[in-house]
């Protein structure tokens, strides 16, 4: 029976291939939306872990999460070093990581921080940062590069780089007079860390020393690198800081203390809770995409229905011959359902295969351009449900021409109508 279906389909392979193609493309879209949705989520969710609170200047919690962890957008304000010191010394706090943002290097964000960053920062499943080469920064003009920065710009250890003021990739104001030396390169993490140039807080200060309100000093008036290092490089302000607590239970308490801090308007967020807010925000878009891809699959299947119904008339002869050699009308309709099932199955299988091939191919591009790390997971339970429901819909849709063929072959019998 399967052989008969196969040969009959092969005989009409032109139409059959188009049908398979339309199902394939629609299945690709359906799965692709799902894959990208999942990888966006996991890529966001894995960007920070083990951090109990993030503290920044008063503002939206989503905004704080986005600029502090994902390097998206800018901080509305800085917070003072005194405030940071106050919370750093709080007995409930186990560790803090100060973050100072606002500069860039050839499109990559520059993060000013302390060696604590390499000690306490966790991503993914509580993994710590690992150096692929070199060491963490010790001096003001040392820098540690994220894996992607080093790879894309082709930097090696002990190379000198110049940092630009502001976050545009083609900033006019370069801190040319004070270049940094690459002392370490981090192993890839699949998070925004890969896209970051890490320097010490002192480095950030040193870079901006003797700049007046964002404008570099006149030529000849600039301090030399050695002179800069002799200055007190303790920063006056940072952008945000991450907090690890001795006990997670104290997170809410400390969050309240930060939010009601009298010296300065500050905000503290729990990263997990704020991520949830982000998901809520994205849910509408996700649902929209899902509905659209669902309709595209429906369109693909309706295309198959059209092809099957249109072919039915031409295939009356085939049906009549089969009837004359003993096939019942039931067999004839099973033949059609089988055909629909086979077409859908091939479409689903090739769509899935092609999607993975495409994802595999565009993976480097996505991680470079969007910082999106596609984990290329095997289809999960949800995909299984989606794919099998597409298959079931295909077979169900095959029921309509099968029923027509049943009626037709009952009426025609073995008589061949030309």
């Amino acid at each position: 029976m399967l052989r008969l279906i196969g040969k009959s389909l092969w005989n009409r392979r032109g139409t059959a291939m188009l049908t398979v193609f339309s199902i394939m493309v629609s299945v690709m879209l359906l799965l692709g939306v799902e894959q990208i949705r999942k990888s966006i989520r996991s890529s966001f969710a894995s960007a920070v872990s083990g951090t109990d609170l993030i503290v920044g200047a008063r503002g939206g919690s989503l905004q704080l999460l986005l600029y502090s962890v994902f390097r998206i957008g800018n901080a509305p304000n800085n917070l003072s070093w005194e405030s940071y010191e106050a919370f750093r010394k709080d007995p409930r706090v186990r560790w803090t990581i100060p973050l100072s943002l606002g500069d860039s290097h050839r499109g990559f964000r520059v993060l000013g921080t302390t060696p604590e960053y390499f000690q306490h920062f966790r991503y993914g499943r509580r993994q710590r940062l690992r150096l692929a080469e070199g060491q963490v920064f010790r001096q003001a003009f040392d820098t540690v590069l994220g894996a992607e920065v080093a790879r894309k710009l082709g930097y090696r250890l002990s190379e000198k780089i110049v940092i630009a003021h502001g976050t545009g990739s083609t900033s006019f104001l370069q801190h040319e007079d004070r270049p940094f030396t690459v002392v370490g390169i981090l192993a890839p993490t699949g998070t925004p860390v890969d896209q970051t140039v890490h320097v010490s807080l002192e480095g950030i200060e040193a870079m901006h020393l003797d700049w007046e309100s964002g404008v570099p000093p006149m030529e000849g008036e600039a301090l030399s690198q050695d002179e800069v290092l002799r200055h007190n490089l303790e920063p006056e302000a940072i952008t945000a800081f991450l907090v690890g607590l001795r006990s997670r239970i104290q997170a809410f308490q400390l969050q309240r203390d930060v939010n009601t801090y009298s010296e300065e308007p500050l905000s503290a967020i729990l990263p997990g809770a704020t991520l949830q807010e982000l998901w809520e925000l994205l849910r509408v878009a996700e649902t929209g995409l899902r509905v659209i891809s669902g309709f595209v699959v429906l369109a693909g299947l309706l295309g198959m229905l059209t092809a099957l119904l249109a072919g039915l008339n031409e295939r009356r002869r085939e049906m009549a011959i089969l009837r004359s050699v003993g096939a019942g009308p039931g067999t004839v309709s099973v033949l059609l359902i089988g055909e629909a099932g086979l077409l859908t199955l091939i479409g689903v299988a090739s769509g899935t295969a092609l999607l993975y091939a495409v994802l595999y191919a565009v993976r480097p591009l996505l991680s470079e351009q969007l910082g999106l790390f596609l984990p290329l997971e095997a289809p999960g339970a949800l995909e299984g449900v989606l794919l099998s429901s597409v298959f079931c819909c295909g077979v169900l849709i095959g029921g309509l021409p099968a029923w027509r063929a049943y009626r037709q072959s009952l009426a025609d019998g073995m008589i061949i109508r030309l």
């Binding site: 005989n11 011959i321 009837r323 004359s324 050699v325 003993g326 096939a327 019998g413 073995m414």
Partner: protein, 238 residues
């Protein structure tokens, strides 16, 4: 004594909702191994009669017995099975599935009927038997070259269809204008081969055609117009 291959008694047939009988056959008997020619112009109810014999249509009243089995007593799926087990069909044109090879076309009835298959033997003997029939019907050359059925001439296609009707030695072969698309020489050849092979397998032959000239070759010639009282009573439809 064995029952006749085909026995029709007082058969009335009208289309559902129709007011007049299309067919009324008081009696028609076809004995085992007999070759009968049934002549009738198109539209005289030939196809309807063949559908009744094949059990695709059921008589309004009266009985249609094939090998002593009243077809109206069988369920529709049993009728399908019964039809392929005991009858071989041969049509006017386009008898073959274009996507199957010659041999595969011939083997089709065996795939749908265990009875026909058993009469050929174990599945290992199917292909040799199909090839033997094709050889006997003069298709040795296209068979050797494994020609697709779409490349065969009409006469060759009809001979493949004949092999399919003959395989597994059904008791009755029903041929509906199988020669109307052939030229005169091919027609004679085809009939000769059909007679030889149906004789060899002991099958009876019911041959329906509008062309009365062919009737001379048969044991018995009948005219549907004479058999069908419905048609004569009303002056015959078209």
């Amino acid at each position: 004594m064995a029952p006749p291959v085909l026995h029709l008694q007082h058969v009335h047939f009208r289309w559902p909702g129709g007011t007049r009988d299309l067919l009324h056959l008081p009696e028609f008997v076809l004995e085992s191994g007999e070759r009968v020619f049934l002549q009738g112009p198109s539209g005289s109810g030939k196809s309807t009669l063949l559908s009744l014999v094949g059990g695709i249509l059921l008589a309004h009243s009266g009985s249609v017995e094939v090998l002593g089995q009243d077809l109206s007593l069988l369920s529709s799926s049993r009728r399908d099975a019964f039809r392929v087990a005991h009858l071989g069909f041969l049509f006017q044109l386009f008898n073959l599935l274009p996507y199957l090879s010659m041999t595969e076309n011939v083997l089709l009835p065996l795939r749908f009927s265990r009875k026909r298959a058993e009469r050929v033997g174990s599945s290992g003997t199917w292909i040799p038997e199909a090839e033997r029939l094709l050889q006997a019907l003069g298709l040795g050359e296209p068979l050797r070259n494994n020609r697709p059925v779409t490349e065969l001439s009409v006469g060759q296609q009809q001979r493949v269809a004949a092999a399919r009707a003959l395989i597994g030695r059904p008791e009755l072969i029903i041929a509906d204008e199988p020669t109307s698309a052939l030229d005169a020489d091919a027609r004679e050849d085809f009939l000769e081969l059909l007679f030889r092979e149906s004789g060899a397998s002991g099958s009876a032959l019911l041959f329906v055609s509008h062309d009365a000239d062919l009737g001379l070759h048969f044991d018995r010639q009948l005219s549907l117009a004479e058999l069908n009282h419905a048609a004569s009573a009303s002056g015959g439809p078209c």
